[in-house]
């Protein structure tokens, strides 16, 4: 993983990273990736990926309203709000 890769994935992950942090992060992530590489030694031809330990099937339910969130309790955690809405910087000019 190159320094440019670290900046790219940090941008994808929406995590601000300084140049100095990126170098240390690259070193650590490369150590981790070197450890992870070992999985490529296993022959997995014909093995289906496992996404759920019990191979469960996603349960569906009727598309109906089952609960109404408590708006005041929910919004009480917002860092900034106004008139019952979440406040963010202007995104559309």
């Amino acid at each position: 993983m190159k320094l440019s890769d670290v900046h790219r994935i940090a941008r994808l992950a929406r995590i601000e990273i300084t140049e100095a942090q990126a170098e240390e992060t690259a070193r650590q992530l490369n150590d981790i990736l070197a450890m992870i590489e070992r999985i490529n030694r296993v022959d997995t031809a014909g093995v289906a990926p496992m996404s759920h330990p019990l191979d469960g099937v996603q349960r569906l339910r009727p598309d109906v309203v089952t609960e109404t969130p408590d708006r005041e309790r929910t919004m009480a955690n917002a860092p900034a709000r106004q008139d019952g809405l979440f406040l963010v910087p202007r995104v559309v000019e």
């Binding site: 670290v6 994808l12 929406r14 995590i15 981790i32 070992r38 289906a48 349960r59 339910r61």
Partner: protein, 492 residues
């Protein structure tokens, strides 16, 4: 085994003993709550608790006493417990030990919290852990490290370090916890308590702050296997609000506590006794296996050839799922928000940079990388395939045995700072616990001895899917024959 508590010391009593004391009106729920709140206050230096609100606790205790006064009974009614801070609660803050959730108050209780409260359990507060349950030493908490009650220079284990330390020090008779790759069993081993992860899908994940959804499993830290079985009866069960909750009829997890072990086949995976296992741990685990033979069990050699690949598979799968799950923390709807920002993108990137700790950021970045264009097949899909290979090896092993046993960790609890500079060394601490997490089978750690500097050693038992009653029964038989689980750290 008697269910009578030593007179005058209910703080050392097990859940089963406390239930009996409450039944006989020898103690009230309010008295118990005050007793444990006082212990929590006296041992604040352990830093096991993040949020304690005596008024909320005492209100629940009074309600439990009123239920008993109205003629209700039940083994859990009025017994206190504490919750790991990844279970959301209406009456206590929930932070997952992260700065990004500082001061967060949930509008609802997690399903596990709800079920145990419904059975009358009284919440003592919220327990410290590694941030978002990522870690093996509890050093990743934004709110400081938790000390191991057996040796304050040692880590309590992680991520459920607060839960393990609280039960070891008897600040709570039992505590909830979560296990994604070993986060119940490793701290149980390091802190000398019994820690049990049920089958994936048995406990509801509703209201449990998500780390890696295909692995996250709620469980318990308890003084012994019987307490765990009693509390599982209330805690586990189908929940339509969790899309991966398993729909099965309720069962009695205590039903095998008195079942003898004659003819029980215990599988011993050779790979768990290979190089890297410290001699003092191997000796204690082998002595425990010998004890099982004396109790009538038969040891069978089994193979888990790719178990050692559990760690790399886990760090791909869990990090990928974490990178997705943690995208919700963006400084918009709840939690921490950075002070200065020019636009929405900067608001989010700075909020996450300042709100997440180093280990969480590492895992989000690794997860983002293995899911990104060009790397998805080589990392994420390959890891998901090797996961199935490992799960298949468990099924082959369980065709030859009823339970699998081995060490929980390669050594006793390490010291603060010993592994925190090297993420890969820290990850390898989960070598023996990760494989069963990937397979989704139940597993537990029970105390089986002590190593250097009086630090505890754990024995791991694993069972096939949905066979936790048999596992708990076998653990209980061991605990009837030994007293490792009954030892208390000096000064508590």
């Amino acid at each position: 085994m008697s269910a009578t508590a030593p007179a005058g010391r209910p703080e050392h009593a097990s859940l089963a003993q406390l239930g009996a004391l409450l039944d006989r009106r020898q103690v009230s729920a309010v008295e118990l709550a005050r007793l444990f709140l006082d212990r929590i206050e006296r041992h604040r230096d352990l830093n096991a608790f993040l949020d304690v609100r005596p008024e909320a606790t005492l209100a629940q205790a009074r309600a439990a006493d009123e239920r008993r006064a109205r003629g209700e009974s039940g083994p859990l009614l009025g017994v206190p417990l504490a919750h790991k801070d990844v279970f959301v609660t209406r009456d206590w803050h929930t932070t997952a030990s992260s700065r990004i959730l500082q001061g967060y108050t949930s509008p609802f209780d997690a399903a596990v919290v709800e079920r145990l409260a419904g059975a009358g359990m009284v919440c003592l507060g919220k327990l410290n852990c590694d941030e978002f349950a990522m870690g093996s030493s509890n050093e990743n908490s934004a709110y400081g490290k938790v000390l191991n009650p057996w040796d304050r220079g040692a880590v309590p284990g992680g991520s459920s370090g607060g839960s393990a330390a609280a039960v070891a020090a008897r600040l709570a008779p039992l505590a909830t916890a979560t296990d994604t790759g070993g986060s119940i069993r490793e701290p149980a081993a390091f802190s000398g308590v019994t820690g049990t992860k049920p089958t994936y899908g048995r406990p509801s994940r509703w209201g449990m702050i998500a780390f890696a959804s295909s692995l996250d499993t709620a469980g318990l830290l308890t003084q012994d296997a019987r307490d765990c079985a009693l509390a599982f009866n209330a805690m586990l069960g189908f929940d339509p609000r969790d899309s991966t909750s398993v729909e099965r009829p309720p069962e009695d997890y205590t039903r095998h506590l008195e079942t003898g072990l004659d003819g029980l086949r215990i599988g011993v995976p050779q790979e768990f006794f290979a190089a890297g296992l410290e001699p003092e741990v191997e000796a204690a685990v082998r002595a425990a296996l010998h004890e099982y033979e004396k109790l009538g069990a038969r040891l069978v050699t089994v193979q888990l050839p790719n178990a050692a690949l559990g760690i790399p598979v886990y760090y791909v799968v869990a990090s990928a799922e974490a990178s997705s799950n943690l995208s919700r923390y963006d400084g918009v709807r709840y939690g921490y928000r950075t002070a200065d920002y020019a636009d929405l993108a900067e608001l989010m990137a700075k909020t996450r940079a300042e709100g997440f700790g180093a280990e969480v950021k590492r895992r989000v970045l690794i997860g983002t990388y293995v899911l990104s264009h060009g790397y998805y097949d080589a990392y994420f899909l390959q890891a998901s395939r090797v996961r199935r290979v490992i799960a298949g090896e468990f099924q082959r092993a369980f065709a030859q045995c009823d339970l699998i046993a081995g060490p929980v960790t390669s050594g006793v609890a390490f010291g603060f700072g010993e592994k925190s500079a090297d993420p890969v060394a820290m990850y390898l601490a989960d070598l023996y616990t990760v494989p069963s997490s990937l397979a989704g089978v139940p597993a537990m750690s029970l105390p089986c001895g002590f190593g250097r500097q009086g630090r505890p050693i754990g024995l791991q038992l694993m069972a096939n899917h949905f066979d936790e009653a048999r596992m708990l029964g076998a653990a209980h038989r061991f605990q009837c024959a030994t007293d490792w689980h009954a030892r208390l750290p000096p000064g508590f």
